[in-house]
């Protein structure tokens, strides 16, 4: 008899388990989304989008990162396994260019050309975005924000004391570094944190852009130059090398925000970093235009990248997924998200004066009017494979300062990872 009860309980448990899982999947109107905006400021920004989405779809139930451990850095690993096992979410946070191309090559994404046409999206954005989001005539995602990365943040007091004007070209930057070093030998003219090695590639983008101009920059980052013999590329690397003596010497121990804090403590004078540092500076109590300010190098180009929402193939709730992407094209959604996130809208039809600070006003105006390029690593101009090797080469270069060795390694890495071939899509 005891045995009977034991078996009965087990059977009931099994049935309950099966039932609970099926009832979970049968629930209608769920909208599953993966993102890693979980920090303060970011979370509120995505919540603003959810609020608008909920108004458009009152019956939808928003499910964020439903896999345990799916937030933050681990999201990509969880996402990769979900996509590979054919259980995609309805949308997820992504970048553009080569960062997105891996998903497309694997056949995980579906085109959203119809949504772009419906929203007249192409006519409302800088042509650069089209270039880095269109693969063989098809688009697979909608960008939600634009982060500018050719910003040089500086400690206003130090620059005023030394008497240098905020640099707007590479020459002026090098000159400013020299003057600061002379006047204040204890201060590092240029802050940098390479604990996350990727930030070494931001300086690389800067010298490429300032040496050969935007066209050369795009060619170099897509592997369309002869790295070994190109004289402009050599000059760019020599210019990178010339900056190294002025960089904060212990950069290998600093993360991007710790390096940014060197401006507050007065240990460094200038910092080459994207506009997400603005939120950090405001958070640690720095006063805009009193303690710090920013200048663009070069001033006539907008460089940066976007976060995008693609449409996965086989999304479980395609109607909601498509409506989410359509919503992201609207000025209201773009404005609500970016005001909180600290970035600017992709679309040009949100007026620049909605931003409370002068830096984003300028970024928005520049994005609407200037030539724009995408940054190398996060913007997906280079491939993840080449990028991963590049940042290792550059952090090595920051230490040994050997231009020839760096050029040779970059050429080899480009060849080994088939950079030119992998970036053909950009020029088609």
């Amino acid at each position: 008899m005891k045995k009977f009860y034991l078996i009965l309980t087990m059977v009931i448990f099994l049935i309950a388990m099966v039932l609970s899982s099926t009832s979970f999947t049968q629930e209608q109107e769920e909208f599953v989304i993966f993102h890693y905006w979980t920090a303060g400021g970011e979370k509120e920004a995505i919540d603003a989008l959810f609020k608008i989405f909920q108004e458009r779809n009152p019956n939808a139930k928003i499910v964020e990162n439903p896999v345990a451990g799916g937030g933050g850095e681990t999201m990509l690993a969880v996402l990769m396994s979900n996509l590979a096992s054919g259980l995609p979410p309805d949308s997820f946070q992504d970048h553009q260019g080569n960062q997105q191309k891996d998903y497309i090559d694997a056949g995980y994404l579906e085109s959203v050309n119809d949504i772009w046409e419906q929203a007249n999206f192409e006519g409302r954005i800088n042509p650069m975005w089209v270039k880095t989001l269109k693969f063989d005539g098809k688009v697979y995602s909608v960008p939600i924000n634009a982060h500018r990365t050719n910003w040089l943040w500086y400690n206003k007091k130090i620059l005023d004391e030394v008497g240098v004007k905020p640099p707007e070209t590479y020459e002026e930057l090098l000159d400013a570094c020299k003057k600061i070093k002379e006047a204040k030998p204890d201060i590092a003219p240029l802050a940098l944190g390479t604990r996350e090695k990727v930030w070494s590639s931001y300086l690389y983008d800067m010298v490429l852009l300032n040496t050969g101009g935007p066209d050369f920059y795009e060619k170099a980052n897509t592997g369309r130059i002869d790295f070994l013999n190109d004289p402009t590329f050599r000059t760019a690397m020599e210019r990178y090398g010339a900056l190294i003596p002025y960089i904060y010497p212990w950069h290998a121990t600093k993360s991007w925000d710790e390096a940014g804090a060197l401006l507050k403590t007065g240990e460094a004078a200038m910092y080459w970093m994207g506009d997400w540092i603005l939120g950090y500076y405001l958070n640690i109590g720095m006063e805009p235009e009193v303690d710090f300010s920013v200048t663009a190098i070069p001033k006539d180009v907008w460089m940066g990248h976007a976060d995008t929402f693609p449409l996965p193939k086989g999304a479980p709730h395609p109607n909601l997924a498509k409506d989410w992407i359509l919503m992201c094209t609207t000025p209201e959604a773009q404005k609500a998200f970016n005001l909180i996130k600290g970035s600017v809208t992709i679309v040009n039809d949100v007026p620049a004066d909605v931003y409370p600070d002068p830096y984003r006003k300028r970024s928005a105006v520049d994005l609407a009017n200037l030539r724009a390029v995408c940054d190398g690593f996060h913007g997906g101009m280079i491939t993840p494979a080449f990028g991963s090797e590049l940042v290792d080469i550059l952090t090595n270069f920051l230490v040994d300062q050997n231009v020839d060795a760096a050029i040779k390694s970059i050429a080899e890495a480009a060849e080994r990872t088939n950079l030119t071939e992998a970036c053909n899509w950009f020029w088609e």
Binding site: A77, M80, L83, A84, D102, Y103, D105, A106, G107, Y108, T194, R195, E196, K197, P249, W250, H251, A252, T253, E267, P384, A385, S388, E389, D392, T395, N396, F397, L398, V399, D400, R416, T417
Partner: protein
């Protein structure tokens, strides 16, 4: 309740599944190492030793391998010798023995992650405690970079692992020394042997099994010191502190070059087999009479 052999097999099934899965994955990994699998989608296209040749052509690989060997050489020997010496000293204390070995064993309770964070803070050239003390003493620290300099970074990192695993070696030796017959040491003492002679001429040769256990365990630790590298330097400055497991991770998940990552893991498998297999054979011979 009566015991049947079949019951035993039923209870073994879960562990058997795990073991089969484990070896299955190793086989899968070997297959992946011989394919040109790049990107997110598997391509089971056989490419011979292509990945291995590319791997051996990378300067970075040799830096990694050198670092792994460096870890073996300068982590194990000091840990074992210092661990043994302290164990010997502690056995000579009549009082406070338990407190002392607990103090030394304490770091073992920490994970590599915590050790890494702690030591990275202490090594920080501008705000770290080591340079701060040096500054107070009057040393010019502007050129002392600890983990920020490629020449010293790996040694700093190995030292923090030494700090953590010293207690491990100590406890193993402590147990071994205590199980030795006292007469041996006393006879030597009567003959007028010094502490040095007693410890290194008499006790050390008699605790060979402890040396074997600690060196092997420490050798395995060096192969999986991934966490320490990740937390303290992420392989930097440059690639100067990378070790093979770190390279494997970078190739697989950052470069999305699964084939190369699998090839690296095969090299690691061979590398650790060279350490572990001779030990296992020896241990089996000594302790299990077949």
């Amino acid at each position: 309740m009566r015991y049947y052999k079949s019951h035993g097999i039923v209870f073994l099934i879960p562990i058997l599944v795990i073991v089969i899965l484990f070896y299955g994955m190793i086989i899968w990994d070997v297959f992946a190492a011989f394919t040109r699998w790049q990107g997110l989608l598997p391509t089971w296209q056989f490419s011979g030793f292509y990945n291995f040749i590319r791997l051996f052509q990378m300067d970075r690989f040799w830096v990694n391998l050198r670092n792994n060997i460096l870890w073996l050489a300068i982590f194990i020997v000091p840990t074992v010798i210092v661990g043994f010496s302290i164990a010997y000293l502690i056995t000579n204390f009549k009082r406070g023995e338990t407190i002392l070995w607990q103090i030394f064993l304490f770091p073992m309770a920490l994970s590599f992650i915590i050790t890494g964070v702690l030591w990275a803070w202490m090594y920080d050239p501008s705000t770290g405690v080591i340079n701060s003390i040096l500054k107070i003493v009057g040393v010019n620290t502007s050129r002392i970079g600890w983990i920020a300099l490629p020449k010293t970074a790996i040694y700093c990192m190995i030292f923090s692992a030494f700090w953590q695993y010293l207690g491990f070696a100590l406890v193993i030796y402590l147990g071994a020394i205590k199980s030795l017959p006292l007469e041996m040491v006393e006879a030597a003492r009567v003959d007028g042997a010094s502490h040095f002679t007693i410890s290194f001429r008499i006790i050390f040769p008699n605790v060979g099994h402890a040396t074997l256990i600690s060196t092997t365990m420490l050798a395995i630790t060096t192969v999986k010191a991934f966490d320490l590298v990740w937390i303290m330097t992420r392989g930097g400055p440059g690639v100067s502190t990378e070790i093979l497991p770190y390279l494997m991770y970078r190739l697989t998940f950052d470069s999305r070059d699964i084939g190369m990552g699998a090839a690296t893991s095969i090299v690691m498998l061979i590398f650790s087999s060279i350490i572990v297999i001779p030990y296992s054979l020896w241990a089996l011979k000594k302790w299990v009479r077949i």
